[in-house]
Symmetry: C2
Subunit: 469 residues, 2 copies
């Protein structure tokens, strides 16, 4: 049963499993103690730190182990902001960071700090010039992911790091999605990562802080991990994390080539096999194993459910469920279609990895699954020609108030047949996703999106679409 | 090779190991995902939560898993203080809490809060009346451990919880040392614990917050663990923690009896076999597996080192190393001898547990080890009779400035022979441990401690000891 959600969590690498088992016996004691069990644990911890530091490209005394990637991000951001508090309280992040970075930014704002969120282009990448322009004299810290977790786009970390260095601002790089593939290039000051993303165990994050970077840990601490990660070290998991990082790195070049070929097959195949699909993310500057696409007229959660029934475990940046009323912040920032969003992220490695047959199987079932979901939702099969006569007052109103994504776009498609060229459709909707998906629909259909207007009564918005062909 | 430091970390329980292995295969995926691997992980997480909640004595939705006991304490204290911030910023802790609680209290003070540290008696227990007297209208939270981690003394949690409840103040109980033995009695509001203390894996703590307790998590959060423990759940370790808690509980009554007999043997045997020893902690109201004693005229670190060489891994609340200039805060609060401190904490369970032979072996080597350390330090073998004639001005001065524990007390013992009854010895010392150890020496020797005086020049203090017999 193919598992296509490695960007959420990868199955344990065989080397991680082996190292974990060995250190359950050898590494359960407190490495701070001086008796033999403690000394043994200390040796294991030191060796793991050296191995991880080598993979990161830093000195062992610059690297600490945290209890998760999220914790590494939270502690890294808080510590860097704390260390430069007197210089200013301005924080820069990209608009497409992982939620752990964005949550830390919100927390900083709630405590009186200021945050600039640098936007991205339609591929999901920040523009280095725009990022550099956000640097201010009171900027305490800048954050940029090495690559995006939802669409796989690689960020221009080297150029942004150079701009930050020139401005004397430390750059924190969230390398959660890329560290298994290779070290982060560029002159970063802080780096974070998460072991379970590269096939290591859960419960281990990395936080590297380059010497010379001001750092004042927030909250209560203790003497462990240089005062940067309080609590008893999770040593067996740390050993397994370091061992598996070394192992995936040894396989990285070969696996990258293999997965890049498989995701290219999906990138090319999906638009050919499924109508009304937008593949998102940079086609070249991207992680080897991630490919993301959005399907018009499809409810993402139903699509995921049907793919799961067909045997494929995939994820979505947009779930259209009642608990998540807003679409993925990444897709919003990119300005691409959010409905029916599917992220395929292939696990690396021969054990637990995916084969070309798995990918071909997915491409074989996807068109039928999407067709089935659309059929249930009553989507018109194809757009007919434009209506011959002009309707009253030159506009058609689609009232989709109270309807969730993807219904507003489906209702728009349903009336399209009787909209004459030149006429405007007013789509009334109170669903946040419509703000993204109606312009995206226009772009995909070659029609003109003319903006939104407040609706006189009620909470919704009118989205204006002009038929141009 | 007997391991006698279970209060630091216990070897992994066989049930924990088995559960960990099984859930490495079944529980690596994200429990928030809806596909089959995610659903399987969710089922494991739910089952672990139910088992842990049953052992704690709370509802499953009142319990979250954190990444360590320290993290549970930090998050629990910060959340409870945050939830009642408008009512006041006063925090009560006992003086003998684990460092994680005291660090959180220091952090609270640094942010402008106030802290009362309730003292303990010579056995290490708080007086419920004294604790209740510390409650104020602006008290936001009270903290009390269920039992002390250094000397094993059980705290009167039930009575303190009742006083807190009557005052409308939530009580957080740090149950790290006792949860494996049984649920915490009394009407507590929050409870914390650490899996690797009961034979579970590292990387798992518990935080229970009773319904109705105001709680506002501090810092950035996410949607995991009710917003109280951000970051990807360490599921295999959580499953192992819950399974092993259930397993150690099933063995608890029998193991408690067995360990209580073994520690009673040490409590009785050490003072008989080793001269100038003080056994500390409550002889009755105590954890089954912990016994602590201090040896006059002994450097704790050397003693631990020699016991390690003899094959016994023990710990000390007082290490007299250059990195730890102050003696254990627990022993200070109790007012007992800190030098040459040894904590024996026996692991429970048949696998990895200790036998009567192990304990007898320890009692067989201890006297010789202590004698050897004392000999190296030049300790007088026995105190001679009082000197016949009065020295000049009726005082003897011992200048131990610049000397670390246990030297000041050894220097005192060296001059004692020539001190006549009625005379006063002024011991000059700038070592913090002397403040504790010189009065403790007087108590053990039946001599009179007459307080301390500032020394005119220099940073030290003069401790006054009058020879009364």
């Amino acid at each position: 049963m193919p598992y296509f959600d490695a960007a959420s969590a990868a199955p344990l690498h065989p080397v991680a499993r082996q190292a974990l088992l060995a250190s359950l016996d050898e590494g359960w004691a407190d490495p701070a103690r001086l008796y033999r069990e403690g000394r043994r644990a200390r040796l294991l911890l030191d060796a793991a730190r050296e191995a991880a530091a080598e993979a990161v490209g830093c000195r062992p005394d610059e690297l600490v182990f945290t209890s998760s990637g999220t914790r590494a991000v939270h502690s890294g951001i808080a510590g860097a902001l704390g260390g430069r508090r007197r210089l200013g309280r301005h924080l820069i992040v990209s608009a497409v960071e992982h939620s752990s970075v964005l949550h830390a930014a919100e927390s900083h704002e709630a405590e009186g700090g200021t945050v600039t969120r640098v936007g991205v282009d339609r591929t999901g990448a920040v523009d280095p010039g725009a990022y550099a322009a956000a640097l201010r004299p009171d900027t305490a810290l800048a954050c940029l992911q090495s690559a995006n977790h939802e669409v796989g786009t690689e960020q221009p970390v080297g150029e942004v790091a150079a701009a930050c260095r020139a401005a004397g601002v430390p750059l924190l790089v969230d390398a959660a999605q890329s560290l298994g593939w290779g070290p982060v290039a560029g002159d970063w000051s802080l780096l974070t990562a998460s072991a379970h993303k590269w096939g290591g165990p859960a419960g281990v994050g990395l936080l590297a802080v380059r010497k010379g970077t001001r750092f004042a840990p927030a909250g209560p601490g203790d003497e462990r991990e240089s005062g940067r990660a309080p609590g008893f070290e999770n040593l067996p998991a740390i050993v397994a994390a370091a061992a598996s990082l070394r192992a995936v790195r040894a396989e990285a070049a070969r696996e990258a080539e293999r997965l890049r070929e498989l995701t290219a097959r999906i990138r090319a195949g999906v638009p050919e096999l499924v109508p009304d699909v937008e593949v998102v993310g940079d086609p070249e500057r991207r992680l080897p194993g991630i490919v993301t696409f959005s399907c018009l007229y499809v409810d993402g959660e139903t699509l995921l459910h049907e793919l799961d029934r067909a045997g494929y475990s995939v994820s979505s940046g947009s779930s259209c469920t009642s608990s998540t009323l807003t679409p993925s912040h990444v897709l919003v920032a990119m300005g691409v279609l959010s409905e029916g969003n599917v992220r395929v992220s292939l696990p690396a490695g021969e054990a637990g990895g995916v084969s070309a047959e798995d990918v071909d199987g997915f491409l074989a079932v996807l068109p039928e699954v999407v067709r089935g979901v659309r059929e249930k939702l009553g989507v018109p099969v194809a757009s007919g020609p434009a209506a011959a006569e002009e309707p009253e007052a030159g506009t058609v109103v689609v009232d989709a108030l109270g309807k969730r994504c993807p219904i507003p776009v489906i209702e728009l498609a349903k009336v399209w047949e009787r909209v004459p060229v030149g006429a405007v459709v007013r789509v009334l909707s109170d669903d946040e996703a419509a703000r993204l998906d109606i312009p995206a629909w226009c772009e995909m259909r070659g029609q003109r999106y003319e903006g939104e207007e407040a609706v006189e009564r009620g909470a919704g918005v009118a989205y204006l679409v002009r038929r141009v062909s």
